[in-house]
């Protein structure tokens, strides 16, 4: 039997929860803290010849194990799809030409530096941060090594030094933020790129340039710039001759995955209204149930199995 009191109780919970969902939707319309002058890199994949100079330059810059520049002339590694890992923050993958008449597409893979990065949203201690100027940076000192960033990244980029027992780090491209933001230089990979398939500059200008190229050569380029909208945009912009899903980028929506979780999080916890409401509700419940069951009154509602 539903008592009037109980009914009110339940509808109260329902209304409260609905209200929370509503505030959550509000919270998703986040303001951006990003600098309109923020930097990025335009990778014109149709210009890339897969020479792997960027792999070498990156390893050199980040003091990762690497051979001589000549050792990177070995292009047989392009036959298999590789992924960036804790020892190399960028790799080139070659996607075969659709027909013998066309060219294969060489694709540089590294952290794309999302505009609204899921890894940053996931990071429990703020070790990963989106610099307003563009790069997604990593502070190993703060990191506790939970690897939630790796779970969150839709591009599966962050790698982990599992074999480092004491000071393992999350390894990913940082857009050479030391070089770029502090010294005003270009990222190591961009600087070494012999064909300037990589162009470093302000993201806005790069987008303009990308669309200019597409308009000039609609035959050469796929009309979409990868990274303009995908997962809310990325600092790296990729120009290819085919849809991004055909050169190793997963099919992703235009909204950052972080938006949904942050909406839920902030919806429930904004001003602690949610927990406080539940707290209040439970207090009332506890009080009422205690009052109801004055000594002598007994358990009258769950009368099953009392005496076998």
């Amino acid at each position: 039997m539903v008592t009037r009191r109980e009914f009110l109780k339940y509808t109260g919970v329902a209304a409260g929860t609905a209200a929370l969902a509503a505030t959550g939707a509000e919270a998703s319309a986040g303001k951006t803290h990003l600098d309109p002058e923020r930097i990025g890199v335009l990778a014109d994949l149709t210009l890339c010849i897969g020479c792997r100079r960027c792999e070498w330059g990156c390893a050199e810059q980040n003091k990762l194990p690497h051979g001589t520049l000549q050792s990177y002339d070995d292009l047989t590694v392009l036959k298999e799809e590789r992924r960036p890992d804790e020892t190399r923050l960028t790799v080139i993958n070659r996607y075969p030409a659709p027909t013998w008449r066309e060219q294969p597409l060489d694709v540089k893979v590294q952290c794309l530096h999302c505009e609204k990065p899921a890894c940053v949203s996931a990071c429990i201690v703020g070790a990963l941060e989106k610099n307003p100027k563009g790069p997604v940076t990593y502070d190993a000192w703060k990191c506790i090594g939970c690897r939630y960033c790796m779970v969150a990244c839709p591009f599966q980029i962050p790698a982990y030094e599992y074999d480092n027992a004491l000071t393992p780090k999350v390894m990913k491209c940082t857009l050479c933020s030391e070089r770029t933001l502090k010294d005003g230089k270009q990222p190591a990979c961009v600087e070494i790129c012999p064909r300037e398939a990589l162009v470093y500059g302000k993201r806005e200008q790069l987008l303009e340039l990308a669309h200019e190229r597409i308009n000039q050569r609609p035959d050469r380029y796929h009309p979409e710039v990868m990274g303009e909208h995908t997962v809310g945009g990325t600092s790296w912009l990729l120009l290819g001759d085919r849809p991004a899903t055909e050169y190793g980028i997963p099919e992703l929506p235009n909204q950052s995955p972080a938006v949904l979780t942050e909406t839920i999080q902030h919806g429930v916890f904004r001003g602690f209204t949610g927990p406080l409401m539940i707290f209040g509700l439970l207090s009332v419940l506890m009080k009422s149930s205690t009052d109801k069951r004055k000594p002598g009154e007994g358990d009258d509602q769950d009368g099953e199995d009392h005496h076998g």
């Binding site: 201690v125 839709p154 962050p158 949904l260």
Partner: protein
């Protein structure tokens, strides 16, 4: 307002540890007061089974040592594709779910104030306390830089956008609350007869004062902590679901949904009560005590309702997203989902809805075990089976060392649980047992 453990007045509670427990005033209470099992139990602390468990625990601790010296790579099959393995999927996610007995029992016994269930509060509290302690330990083992765990508590590093931060904070707070809730039991055991040997004898007085102070303070504020515990539990049980919402392209559509937190919360309600039933029956058997059917059967009556609600949240959401199509093909994931629902929901609901079967210990135990299995599998599915990263095809199969550590931790938990019920007044003193 009533005190947590004893609705009949907390005043007497503090003095209860030593002498014969005063008879409860309430007519509805069928059980004796809780008491430590030492000297009273029908079985000794060490049995062959316990020794096996202790060996397992020791093996787990050896793996832990190897992990600390040689790193995660040495003992796990984790890789850049699968950053989270069974230590997160089982030790943490499933551990949190299965420790839900604490807050669900607290809700039923204290907040809804159903007198008869008070007897279950202490075992459930102990389970929750130990469960969460091991969840915290499990997290630390899995953390690459475990020594930085304190960063989570530093305001300058707070990261409110992270669901994991929310889980971490809530678990920290809840663990504190659990320890506080457990303190009265410690006080009950030791207050009035702190008697340290030799040189430490000088500490007897201050300790005694501390216990009294604690006991009195906590007695007055316990209701706050009980409600706090429920709120914190709801918060992090659901946030545990939010964790995987951030990976829509990786978590299989059978499980990924915006209401994953709600589903986690609802399933936590159901599994919390089931776990209490499961554990109580298991403990009765192990300790050769009579199963507490008169309490467990009515408690189990709520489980089908909770499961139905959970199932409805699952099914309505699936219909809404049109993810039925993933069940049409025969795959690891569709099978795993089906097992989760059939074994974890359908069969136990059918059993527990039957008035007759509910009152039979074997059936009740099976049903509770199935719910526990189902929810555990759900967590495992969400964190491991359903995790389908976009690159690479190598599946994650846990290393034997990973499994050993998980098993070892569970064994250690069981061992400590046993130790606690022998040391502290957790389980009620059986009338029959006294005469044995």
């Amino acid at each position: 307002m009533a005190s947590p453990d004893n609705a009949q007045g907390s005043g007497t509670l503090a003095m209860a540890g030593a002498g014969p427990a005063p008879k409860p005033k309430h007519a509805a209470a069928h059980h004796e007061r809780p008491a430590p099992l030492f000297g009273r139990a029908a079985v000794p602390f060490f049995t062959p089974g316990v020794i096996v468990i202790a060996a397992l625990a020791a093996a787990g601790l050896i793996v832990l040592g190897v992990r600390l010296v040689f790193g995660l790579g040495a003992v796990t099959h984790l890789n850049n594709q699968y950053p989270w393995g069974i230590w997160i999927g089982i030790d943490v996610a499933t551990g949190v779910a299965l420790a839900a007995g604490g807050f669900t029992t607290a809700f039923v016994a204290h907040i809804l104030n159903h007198e008869r269930y008070h007897v279950l509060v202490r075992p459930a509290l102990l389970t929750a306390m130990l469960g969460y302690t091991f969840v915290a330990l499990g997290v630390c083992v899995d953390l690459g830089r475990y020594y930085n765990i304190w960063h989570v508590l530093m305001p300058q590093m707070w990261q409110g956008n992270s669901a994991l931060f929310e889980v971490g904070m809530c678990v920290c707070c809840y663990l504190t609350v659990l320890y506080l809730e457990f303190m009265p039991i410690v006080c009950e055991r030791f207050r009035g007869h702190v008697n340290l040997p030799g040189l430490l004898a000088g500490l007897n007085k201050p300790l005694e004062t501390l216990l009294r102070l604690l006991d009195n303070t906590l007695g007055a504020t316990m209701n706050f902590f009980i409600i706090m515990g429920v709120v914190l539990s709801c918060a992090h049980q659901s946030s545990l679901g939010t964790l995987m919402v951030i990976a829509p392209s990786k978590l299989h559509p059978l499980w990924h949904t915006a209401i994953l937190p709600l589903q986690f919360l609802l399933s936590a309600f159901a599994v919390g009560l089931s776990m209490v039933v499961f554990e109580s029956l298991l403990a009765s058997r192990s300790l050769k005590r009579a199963p507490e059917m008169s309490v467990l059967s009515p408690l189990a009556r709520m489980i089908p309702f909770l499961l139905t609600v959970y199932f409805a949240a699952k099914v309505i959401d699936m219909a809404n997203r049109g993810t039925w199509k993933y069940l049409e093909t025969f795959s690891l994931r569709s099978v795993s989902w089906s097992v989760e629902v059939i074994v974890g929901i359908f069969i136990p609901v059918a059993i527990l809805l039957s008035h007759r079967l509910r009152r039979k210990a074997a059936w009740l135990f099976s049903a509770a075990a199935m719910v526990v299995f189902g929810v555990a599998l759900n967590r495992f599915n969400v964190f491991i089976i359903g995790y389908t990263p976009p690159y690479g095809t190598k599946a994650y199969i846990p290393a034997w060392t990973e499994v050993l550590l998980t098993a070892g931790f569970i064994a250690l938990l069981v061992l400590i649980y046993r130790l606690f019920i022998f040391l502290f007044p957790i389980l009620p003193e059986e009338e029959g047992a006294k005469h044995v």
